[in-house]
């Protein structure tokens, strides 16, 4: 069956769809292809000629190998930890008779919405040299030192793990929820116990989801800047993202470019590695589309222990760092005793009166809103041409638009500087806020494409054909049928892009300039220069925005689930 708009006569071939496609292709060319091209080409150029000297310099410096190696091993261990936390919590929430499941689920997903920088800062307040936990430990054991050091690779690994496990939790929960329960029931009828079913049937079946979530956690770890910056710079422990940041502070553009290519290489190798482990992913098609009543394991005597354990973990991982952040924002100076006399609102007034911080708030809100709105509109149009008009070119745009998702943020940052410092045509955007907007658009295009494509795929072609046979023109059909049905997907994509852009740091810290600060950049700079109180105060001020968006995203997901269920019973 062809789509709504099978091409009719030669005269109409050159219609609005062609023009729209040309516009969209231009957009993708400028925002995605051009910066990638710049990074790839410039790393091979020395004074305008092809030369491998940049790579030579990168590879001859032991500091750079070390950064590559550090990025790798830190990310691998953090991913393993995140996967364990994510899988265990997903099983407990989805497949046991745990009480207050919805609350647990909500709290377990929450770190996904909190910027990793905040987590790093929170953990410094908690477990740093004068942190709350450190002080409690010292008081309890009467020692002057603690047996840990948050400014260390171990600290980075720990904070990366507790920041990234929600990616595993979300994918595995989804797979567990959609798995056909008859597969487990068949085992139960064969006389297999519930625990054994988990091990022999359920776990192997959700293996692809576990590996998929782990891959996301790995890429996110490799990509992260905030955590290794806050916890590693002080210990002189560098990973690739912080090395690139340093190379740009100097600034050494060719070096940063060549290192960006190394970072891409690491990410690509990692992805192929996961593919190899994953094997034939399509081996089982057991994850049905609709939600079903899952097989629940009774925890019995272990229940109170597991509940207490999970609650403690959630408090330590999710609640304490935020609490520490709030306390730090209220304390007169860092490390002060927790007394009422030591509390102050001075940091808040200082932050709210600092022009740079004010600009940061306005910029971040404007950038997140702008990027989300532009992307949702553009990607909806690309997905429409791709899915509904079956335009091959639009399918290509979809593929190209997904590439930046696999690119570490530092690479996008370097690409932006190269692309917009002295572009062959057009204005020099580097140094203005527009380069940040372009960076966010590039970085989060995949989110918009994903949301709109999947929603459009679910809109059965006959719904639109019905409008045509009812006398509605193609454009009217889009307005009355396609768009209203696509809207929930667009809203979900908007919220996801907004949260991500609002929390962005890895790219922003490379390309911000005076006047185009973002909240994240400003908080990082304050924290980095020792103004912990002010950094925390601004972080706390952004929390309501983040929480509102997070709750909205959750509510939307619920709504979507219910709609899918209703649709599932119909056709």
């Amino acid at each position: 069956m062809s789509s709504v708009g099978a091409s009719r006569s030669l005269g109409r071939l050159i219609d609005w769809r062609i023009w729209l496609f040309v516009l969209l292709a231009g957009f993708v060319l400028v925002t995605v292809i051009y910066p990638i091209f710049q990074v790839a080409i410039r790393s091979f150029l020395v004074d305008g000629r092809f030369d491998l000297a940049n790579y030579e310099r990168v590879l001859l410096q032991p500091r750079n190998y070390v950064a590559v190696w550090n990025s790798l091993w830190v990310s691998v261990i953090a991913t393993v930890l995140a996967t364990v936390i994510g899988v265990v919590s997903a099983f407990l929430v989805q497949r046991t008779d745990l009480p207050a499941k919805n609350l647990f689920r909500l709290l377990l997903i929450l770190p996904f919405a909190i910027p990793p920088l905040f987590a790093a800062m929170g953990w410094v307040q908690l477990a740093g040299p004068v942190g709350l936990l450190s002080q409690a430990w010292k008081a309890a054991f009467g020692t002057v030192t603690v047996p840990w050091n948050i400014y260390s690779p171990g600290g980075i690994i720990f904070v990366l793990a507790v920041t990234n496990y929600p990616l595993v939790f979300i994918t595995v929960s989804g797979a567990l929820q959609r798995m056909d329960p008859s597969l487990e029931e068949a085992a139960r009828i064969s006389g297999v116990g519930a625990g054994r079913i988990m091990r022999d049937i359920t776990l192997p079946l959700v293996r692809p989801a576990i590996l998929g979530g782990a891959l996301l956690a790995f890429v996110s770890s490799i990509d992260n800047f905030g955590i290794p910056a806050v916890l590693g710079l002080r210990a002189n422990f560098y990973v690739l993202t912080t090395r690139i940041y340093e190379a740009l502070v100097v600034p050494n553009m060719p070096l940063a470019t060549a290192m960006s290519m190394l970072l891409v290489l690491v990410a690509v190798i990692a992805m192929f590695g996961f593919r190899a482990v994953e094997g034939q992913r399509e081996q089982y098609a057991v994850i049905a589309g609709k939600s079903v009543m899952p097989n629940v394991v009774r925890l019995n005597r272990a229940r109170p222990w597991l509940v207490a354990g999970l609650a403690l973990a959630v408090i330590v991982i999710v609640v304490l760092p935020l609490l520490a952040l709030i306390i730090a924002s209220l304390l007169r100076y860092w490390g002060a005793d927790l007394t009422l006399a030591n509390t102050t609102l001075a940091h808040y007034t200082a932050v709210l009166n600092a022009p740079a911080a004010q600009r940061g708030i306005v910029n971040s809100l404007a950038l997140a809103t702008g990027a989300a709105t532009i992307l949702v509109v553009v990607t909806a149009l690309i997905s429409y041409l791709n899915i509904k008009e079956r335009m091959r070119g639009a399918g290509l745009l979809d593929v190209v638009g997904l590439i930046p998702f696999a690119l570490p943020g530092s690479v996008i940052g370097v690409g932006m500087i190269l692309a917009w410092s002295n572009p062959p045509v057009g204005p020099t955007l580097y140094g203005t806020i527009w380069v940040l907007l372009l960076a966010y658009i590039m970085r989060y295009m995949a989110f918009g494409l994903q949301a709109t494509r999947t929603t459009l795929q679910q809109i059965h072609g006959s719904l639109e054909e019905a409008a045509l046979t009812c006398g509605a023109s193609r454009l009217r059909t889009i307005k009355d049928v396609t768009f209203p049905l696509l809207r929930p997907g667009m809203v979900a994509g908007w919220v996801l892009i907004f949260i991500s852009a609002f929390n962005e740091l890895t790219v922003s810290v490379l390309i911000w300039t005076s006047g185009s600060e973002t909240i994240g950049v400003w908080i990082f700079l304050m924290q980095d220069s020792g103004f912990t109180g002010r950094a925390s105060a601004l972080a706390v001020l952004t929390l309501p925005v983040i929480l509102i968006m997070f709750l909205m995203a959750q509510a939307l997901a619920r709504l979507e689930e219910r709609r899918a269920q209703a649709a599932g019973t119909k056709s």
Binding site: S2, L468, G471, S571
Partner: protein
């Protein structure tokens, strides 16, 4: 007065597959016309070409007085300007609109006044037996009710022709029969011509005034249902509609009213002369299960000559019995009203009331002549 729909020489390719090949038919005013065939036979492609959702490669389509498609003249009117109503297999009721909004939509698009729309929606809801359900959401409706909404939406604008694409295939058996009768009644009431696509032969036989049986993009037979059943044009039609037993035979002799057959030396029987007699003496005798008669072994049978066969499986169907018999190495299926006295393993007498004759190699040729 021109026919409601006239399709001439319609051809449509998908890659190397000929989905429709020289499809020609007309639908008279108030006629219920069906396209019947297995999936992939081209019936849905033909319907979608008439709707304008698909563009044919060859041929022409007229709806009422208007040429809506002509490959030679490069005319292709888009679906929204063909004045048709269509019901989809998946119903395609819009989930974001209420029942009333769904039905009102075609009128709204035409810019009909609001008061008129309200009146017409009430009227259509009454025809559908859904009065008072206008404010419901489609997700609150049963499959049968959604089906009705889809029908109501297609009827709202009094279309020139109503196109139905397997509209009953998603309903359960009981509801399907009920909707069959209702659909026929609504059509009569509205005096609408209908183009109905189905793979369900009983639906097509029960509802159609005329029907076209299609296979591999081509129409094998175009006739009223009874004729299609009694005098199938080709081996494919004979096979597709109902059940058939094929018995190889030799034609011994014919006269004006009868034909005498030798069933491979096992028996000689005489049946009423079928409409087509192949040349040469070898042939295939095709007999429907209800045209075979059973009797006790050695006892009298209605038909002239009785063959001795063994019962391999007796199935009770409620109103009748079905027997599978072994005769001369061939499996033969018989349907009989009575069969209480017969058990598996019994030897019975088998008589042939009437049958059709085909070329001896007809089994491998779907388009072999059957009558």
């Amino acid at each position: 007065m021109p026919p409601a729909v006239a399709v001439t020489g319609l051809g449509k390719r998908f890659g190397s597959v000929r989905a429709a090949d020289d499809v020609t038919f007309t639908i008279a005013r108030q006629e219920f016309f069906s396209l019947l065939g297995p999936s992939g036979c081209g019936k849905t492609t033909t319907l979608r070409c008439v709707a304008g959702l698909e563009s044919a490669d060859e041929g022409a389509i007229r709806i009422g007085e208007h040429v809506v498609f002509d490959a030679a003249c490069r005319i292709d009117v888009p679906p929204n300007r063909r004045g048709i109503g269509m019901v989809f297999q998946s119903y395609a009721v819009w989930p974001h609109m209420s029942v009333a909004d769904n039905i009102a939509y075609p009128l709204k698009v035409q810019g009909v006044a609001r008061s008129v729309i309200r009146e017409r929606v009430t009227e259509v809801l009454a025809i559908l037996g859904m009065t008072g359900l206008g404010e419901r959401r489609p997700s609150q409706l049963s499959g049968g009710q959604q089906q009705r909404v889809a029908l109501g939406r297609a009827l709202a604008l009094n279309p020139t022709v109503l196109l139905l694409d397997e509209p009953l295939s998603n309903l359960d058996a009981k509801l399907r029969e009920q909707m069959r009768a209702e659909l026929k009644q609504i059509q009569r009431q509205a005096g609408l011509p209908i183009l109905y696509v189905t793979h369900d032969q009983s639906e097509a036989l029960a509802m159609s005034d005329r029907m076209a049986v299609m296979n591999e993009g081509r129409i094998h037979q175009l006739a009223p249902p009874e004729e299609v059943y009694r005098r199938p044009a080709t081996r494919f039609v004979l096979d597709f509609i109902g059940t058939v037993n094929y018995l190889p035979c030799r034609i011994v002799g014919t006269d004006g009213t009868r034909v005498c057959l030798d069933l491979d030396g096992a028996a000689v029987l005489t049946i009423p002369r079928p409409p087509y007699i192949p040349e040469g003496d070898r042939a295939l005798l095709a007999v429907r299960p209800e045209d075979l008669v059973l009797g006790r072994a050695g006892g009298p049978v209605e038909a002239e000559v009785a063959l001795a066969a063994t019962v391999t499986l007796r199935s009770f169907l409620g109103a009748s019995f079905e027997f599978r018999l072994a005769w001369n190495g061939t499996e033969v299926r018989v349907v009989a009203d009575k069969g209480s006295g017969i058990a598996d393993g019994d030897t019975v007498a088998l008589g042939v009331r009437e049958g059709l004759l085909l070329e001896p190699d007809a089994l491998s040729r779907p388009d072999a002549r059957a009558s």
